[in-house]
């Protein structure tokens, strides 16, 4: 804070502008990476379609976990 108090208003404004630009660049990079991952996921749509079916074995395993959770809770 001491350093900032010695800077002129113009210098502070310049630092602020630069920081804002950095934040905008980081946001843009994050958005770009997120969208790239989403495009890659869509490219592998066939794999996701396979995972989007009801797997009754997994449903059964889920309810077994629920029962185990209930038993451990009642002890």
């Amino acid at each position: 804070m001491d350093d900032l108090s010695r800077l002129s208003k113009e210098e502070l404004q310049a630092i602020l502008d630069e920081t804002e630009q950095h934040i905008a660049d980081i946001r843009s990079e994050l958005k770009h990476r997120e969208e790239r991952e989403q495009h890659q996921a869509v490219d592998a749509l066939e794999l996701h379609l396979e995972r989007s079916k009801v797997n009754w074995g997994e449903v059964k395993a889920f309810f077994q976990q629920v029962l185990a959770e209930l038993r451990s809770g009642s002890r």
Partner: protein, 382 residues
């Protein structure tokens, strides 16, 4: 866009047998709806209204739609069956809550898919929230539109006006030509012949059952084939929706669902994508709503099977399905307060279920089975 350039968008000539099979299955689907109409009319002896008086309680109709769709795991089959039953004399007013119920029942599929992500806590939280945002939206839609329907007949009246307009201005199989009836007659006659092996009323009941089985098998097979045939186009639509706003999300959800003819497929597809954290809940939410609209095409297709005086009613119930989903999206997504309610509900429930699985189990069993049956019990005794 580089991602879409790599896709095989041109229809391959080697796929024409599969396309022919799809056309044959659509033909069977339409024929089966016609068969159900005939069978239902004969089985009820033209007394469908009296026989279904128990369902004149709209909550009973709603529960029938929820439980039937949850058990069959295909809203398209249930809505096509309802179209056939309306063609056979079931009053549209009784069928409207059933259509609403099928909208709720269909969300069970993606909720069951999300249970498969239970091994990782964070993944389960995201996947379960992604699945239940659809549940919350459809339940909210029923909470808003069922009372409006009971009080004013909003959907029935709107659909009636629209159906009269369409039938009056086009030859949507309802005109004197009865084009679709002529086209489907051979298949219907053949299926009727199978049912008529049974004596008396059993023959007409068999027509309904055969029709239901044929619809289910045809829709399942159409879905399987279209998933293969349309994957390239579905990818292109999804690629083009990335980085765009929620309206593009709704439009892409609608288009992909029309292409694969299954809202369960498109909404369930979003579950692993959200579970992995690739898409946020807010990003997949509009896509789920689009799926609700896209799936209504099947009932419209089924309505083309019906000709004669009842054709307008069959079209009316199919349009009820369309309008219910369009109105729901327009109202709930259009009003910021309502728009955020399914998101908050799904995030809250996802966090709760990730901590204790019993909440997820209670949601699945409660919303799709216990609550509907309790609703019948309460409204029957009050």
């Amino acid at each position: 866009m580089s991602h879409t350039q790599t896709l095989d968008l041109a229809p391959s000539t080697s796929r024409w047998p599969q396309w022919l099979f799809v056309i044959a299955l659509i033909y069977l689907l339409i024929s089966a709806v016609s068969l159900i109409g005939t069978g239902f009319k004969v089985a009820t002896g033209g007394q469908a209204q009296q026989l279904f008086s128990f369902a004149s309680n709209p909550y009973v109709g709603l529960v029938i739609g929820i439980v039937a769709t949850a058990l069959i795991q295909s809203s398209s089959t249930v809505t096509s069956l309802i179209v056939g039953m309306v063609a056979g004399g079931l009053p549209v007013a009784i069928a409207v809550p059933m259509i609403m119920g099928s909208n709720v029942g269909t969300t069970l599929t993606n909720t069951l898919v999300s249970l498969g992500h239970v091994r990782s806590k964070d993944e389960f939280r995201r996947a379960f929230s992604a699945a239940t945002v659809h549940d919350f939206f459809n339940l909210l839609a029923v909470l808003i539109f069922l009372p409006l329907e009971i009080a004013f007949g909003l959907l029935e009246r709107s659909a009636e006006a629209l159906a009269s307009l369409l039938v009056g201005s086009s030859n949507y199989s309802m005109s004197g030509l009865n084009f679709m009836k002529t086209l489907t007659q051979p298949a219907v006659t053949m299926l009727e012949g199978v049912a008529n092996l049974l004596p008396g009323i059993f023959a007409s009941i068999a027509m309904v059952v055969i029709g239901l089985v044929v619809i289910f098998l045809a829709i399942t097979q159409i879905g399987r084939l279209l998933k293969v045939l349309m994957i390239g186009r579905a990818k292109a639509i999804l690629h083009s929706a990335i980085g765009r706003g929620p309206l593009t999300g709704i439009a892409s959800g609608t288009l992909v669902t029309v292409l694969v003819q299954s809202s369960s497929t498109t909404t369930s597809l979003m579950v692993p994508l959200a579970g992995a954290g690739t898409f946020s809940l807010k990003q997949i939410y509009p896509f789920m709503l689009g799926a609700n609209i896209g799936t209504t095409v099947t009932a419209l297709l089924a309505a083309t099977a019906v000709s004669g005086a009842v054709a307008v009613h069959a079209l009316e119930i199919a349009l009820v399905h369309v309008l219910f989903n369009v109105f729901s999206v327009a109202l709930i997504f259009g009003v910021p307060f309502l728009r955020n309610m399914p998101l908050y509900g799904a995030e809250w429930l996802g966090a709760l279920a990730a901590e204790r699985k019993i909440y997820a189990a209670a949601w699945v069993l409660g919303v799709f089975f216990v609550l509907p049956l309790a609703l019948i019990a309460i409204t029957s005794f009050v």
